[in-house]
């Protein structure tokens, strides 16, 4: 089980690398899907299955689908695919940077396996993530309003940035 979780971690990094190596969005979204699916598996391993489900539904089923539809409207005549030399170069470069960072930062102490989490203790009769979501609506309502406003603000900002411009993208005239 431990090795499966480590494998999920490696897949997460590969997915992030796939997004960051700058192919065209049609191919980069594959990396996003892989990274988020594997991230959900990671969360299940930590015990917070509700959060994992929420991430799967909202992120994959909502955001990513909307992203794919809107990207398909802004078509690229010659998209950069996986075999392009620029994409391969980015991939190798990121792997090198991560290796140097890990060695120099001496981050090996953070590579402990078997993270201990406390699921339910004391008066908490439900699991940590469920009770957390419930508290989000009761004593954490200020943070709920702030987070909700932040998300709504993103919508308004994006609409304002592309208002009145042709093809709906943030272009320089």
């Amino acid at each position: 089980m431990t090795y499966f979780v480590i494998f999920l971690g490696i897949c997460f990094m590969l997915g992030v690398l796939a997004v960051a190596s700058n192919p065209s969005p049609y191919y980069g979204v594959v990396g996003l899907v892989v990274a988020s699916v594997v991230g959900c598996g990671w969360l299940v391993n930590l015990g917070v299955s509700f959060i994992s489900l929420a991430l799967f539904m909202v992120y994959l089923g909502g955001m990513l689908v909307v992203f794919v539809y809107s990207v398909s409207l802004a078509a690229d005549p010659y998209p950069e695919a996986w075999g392009d030399w620029r994409v391969v170069g980015y991939g190798l470069g990121f792997i090198f940077v991560i290796y140097v960072g890990v060695v120099l930062g001496e981050l090996v102490e953070y590579w402990k396996v078997g993270v201990l989490t406390v699921d339910s203790a004391g008066v908490f009769f439900v699991r940590l993530d469920f009770s957390g979501v419930a508290m989000f609506y009761s004593c954490g309502v200020g943070l709920l309003l702030v987070a909700g406003w932040g998300l709504l603000l993103v919508l308004f900002v994006v609409l304002e940035l592309v208002r009145g411009l042709s093809r709906g993208a943030i272009r320089a005239v």
């Binding site: 943070l143 603000l153 993103v154 900002v157 304002e160 272009r171 320089a172």
Partner: protein
């Protein structure tokens, strides 16, 4: 700009700044910073000029990187100490990450490259917001966690900011870029003293905001974007140019003007703490800034091209008098005698 969008952006700016400044938990501080970043993006890009769009994207990328680093710093601290209090930042890695993240957010050297270009791409009023309001939450976070940070690193950032701010400002002809480099060197002064007396950092920031608001408002009023426009602006508003000269000398830190107060108190505190070489270095480096402030002051009052010396002020002017500029310029020139009172306020 669309009034509804402007209202949403402005209110979100106020909300984000208040959230970060009043928070004790790292997550809430990070949320406020992100809301600030998002809300000012349409304000930077509102003219939809290619330069403004580029400035907005540069601002967004650098500030998002810094916010991610703040999140990582708080997460590693929570992992090793188990708590999320901003004042209890005990893990050394977290302190290092936070210092670098705040340096990116503020525009300290060596992360200053975005700041002049973003200021040049935005309008004068947005540049004012970027220099004063958007610097307030990061300075608050630094103030709250200042006791755990690395003094050598902060002193290095401070001296190099004063150096680069003064040196790179020398070649500029655009007023927004000059004010950007002035901001970088003033931030260097603020960071130099934060370990020893954080209240002096707040005092320096408040007085710097006062003086730079005066400058930005005066420049907006006469629509001066570059030095060559400054040469001929005296015919339209001679009084404003005269007060602008004094405000510039105040920014440079010359006694008996207000701008001398923070420099004086910082040098005094640094000397008391035994950091005399630091105090000497940073004072000498602000001489570089003095040169371009003097050049701006000279251009605003003394140069008279291509007219003859008995050329008169334009007899027809449509500039309404501006009360905030008047009040702020008075304050930014004459606050030095009230140093004892102001020191007790911070």
């Amino acid at each position: 700009m669309n009034p509804h969008a402007k209202l949403i952006s402005t209110m979100s700016l106020i909300m984000g700044t208040s959230i970060t400044m009043s928070s004790n938990h790292w997550i809430l501080a990070w949320t406020g910073l992100e809301v600030n970043t998002l809300a000012i993006i349409p304000l930077i890009s509102k003219s939809h000029h290619p330069r403004a769009i580029e400035a907005a994207i540069k601002y967004f990328l650098t500030q998002s990187t810094a916010s991610a680093l703040i999140l990582f710093s708080s997460l590693t601290n929570a992992w090793s100490t188990g708590q999320w209090d901003i004042t209890q930042l005990n893990n050394p890695t977290s302190c290092l990450l936070l210092t670098m993240a705040i340096a990116i957010k503020l525009g300290l050297v060596p992360f200053h490259f975005w700041f002049p270009e973003v200021l040049q791409g935005s309008s004068m009023t947005t540049a004012l917001l970027l220099s004063t309001l958007m610097k307030l939450p990061p300075i608050t976070l630094l103030f709250m966690s200042s006791q755990s940070l690395n003094p050598a690193l902060l002193t290095t950032l401070a001296i190099s900011s004063a150096l680069v701010g003064g040196w790179m400002g020398l070649n500029q002809t655009q007023t927004r870029k000059i004010l950007a480099f002035s901001s970088i060197s003033h931030l260097g002064w603020m960071i130099a003293i934060i370990i020893y007396d954080p209240h002096l950092t707040i005092l320096t920031f408040a007085l710097y905001s006062l003086m730079t608001t005066t400058m930005f408002l005066s420049l907006t009023q006469i629509k001066v974007l570059k030095l060559s426009t400054m040469l001929i602006s005296w015919t339209k508003t001679p009084m404003l140019n005269a007060t602008m000269m004094l405000a510039l000398l105040s920014l440079a830190g010359l006694p008996p003007l207000t701008g001398f107060m923070p420099k004086w108190l910082i040098i005094q505190e640094l000397t008391k703490q035994g950091m005399t070489p630091t105090a000497t270095t940073i004072t000498l480096l602000s001489l570089l800034g003095l040169f371009f402030y003097l050049r701006l002051a000279y251009h605003s009052t003394i140069m008279l091209p291509p007219n003859s010396s008995n050329h008169m002020k334009l007899w027809r002017t449509n500039k309404a008098s501006n009360t905030p500029t008047a009040i702020l310029s008075t304050l930014s020139i004459s606050l030095l005698p009230m140093t004892p009172l102001i020191t007790t306020m911070f």
